[in-house]
Symmetry: C2
DNA sequence: CCTACCGATCGGTAGG
DNA sequence: CCTACCGATCGGTAGG
């Protein structure tokens, strides 16, 4: 018995471990494709223990998503501060976006799956947590357009939308979809190209400035 | 009894109807989230009837995918011919890509779900059916680069990859992910902006030509 | 193409 | 945090 019998410590361990394993399994196989028993086995506890900690399978799913959004909430202020330090810098923003999702593949996979499986809940989740931040981006972009530093034909909302959609798409399935091409572009190469595309599409052609 | 009792006709009807309903349900809820009974109810037959026609649930899934890829195989030659008629035209290609997936939302959803749920099978499917065609695109793009008509910094494989990934991403979840922004960009607006981005990222800046 | 039915597994509860 | 167990549903088979 090297393990502390303190219930509070055990609680923390099981809950943390369960969140980690559920995140991994839900991302890989989807929520519908993952049984509570499969999570319980991965954690090394019984099925009712999971129900005790999270109320239900749906409670576990919500806890996993809340944890993901929590990470996001912690990082966003830091990212936005860094990116807008010397005026909004597109590259810094994209690099931060890439880094966040590269740190844990499950993040992009879970987001994409949630978008597919629960459209309404997904929309509500974005509205609640992220719309204020994207508003800052489009605002900065309009300012850039007014100053002639951003392409005047760009639609700020659609531009930001597409960049985020593409980044998450590449990070979630870039290693599968690249079977389309030969030779296969690595995820890193795809992200570099995305940055180049974004830059070219944002900055006005000199003769139009 | 207005319906013909001919078994062959009924066979065709049930199979066709089952494929249609399964496509819709698999796209909406995923394969794991759709029971054979749910498909049977939607078609109006019993569950064993589906097993008779498709062998198993997995057989039904494969039939749905084959039908999707079949459509693609029929349209691709037409698309490529139209797009390369007067030299490769980016806009024509993108419009054809958009049109194909807009015609039936399930197409983009199913592809995305398959990429998530069965990575290896998805890669094999792309390699088998689509890599030759994308090879034509990168080839045309390299020719454009050599002629100074396409941006020399672009990575052809990564560029094509990203355009397709983004188009499918927008068409599959553009109506959910746009809750990120306010006002929400419509899917049409997103596609227009994607075309603009692609054009700006492909064509070299004049001073570099 | 159906009814009847199979064993296995599902999410969740009772009770401790 | 467990064992024991619940009814419901799963994909699939038997037999016609």
């Amino acid at each position: 018995m090297t393990r502390a019998p303190t219930p509070e410590l055990d609680d923390l361990d099981v809950r943390t471990l369960a969140l980690r394993e559920a995140t991994r399994l839900f991302a890989e196989r989807g929520v519908a494709g993952t049984s509570l028993q499969a999570v319980a086995d991965a954690v090394g506890v019984s099925k009712p223990t999971l129900v005790y900690h999270f109320g239900s399978k749906d409670g576990l799913r919500e806890a996993v998503l809340e944890q993901l959004l929590g990470h996001w909430q912690d990082e966003l202020p830091r990212i936005m501060a860094a990116a807008t330090a010397g005026g909004p810098r597109l590259e810094a923003l994209l690099d931060a976006l890439y880094a966040f999702f590269l740190e844990d593949r499950s993040r992009a996979l879970l987001l994409l799956r949630e978008a597919l499986d629960r459209p309404d809940a997904f929309r509500a989740l974005l509205r609640q947590h992220l719309t204020p931040w994207t508003g800052l981006l489009t605002q900065a972009m309009r300012a850039g357009q007014a100053a002639g530093m951003a392409h005047h034909k760009a639609d700020p909302e659609a531009f930001v939308q597409i960049l985020i959609t593409t980044a998450i798409g590449v990070l979630a399935i870039g290693d599968r979809a690249n079977a389309l091409l030969s030779p296969e572009p690595s995820v890193d190469t795809q992200l570099s190209e995305l940055t180049r595309i974004a830059r070219a599409a944002l900055h006005p052609h000199p003769q139009e400035a």
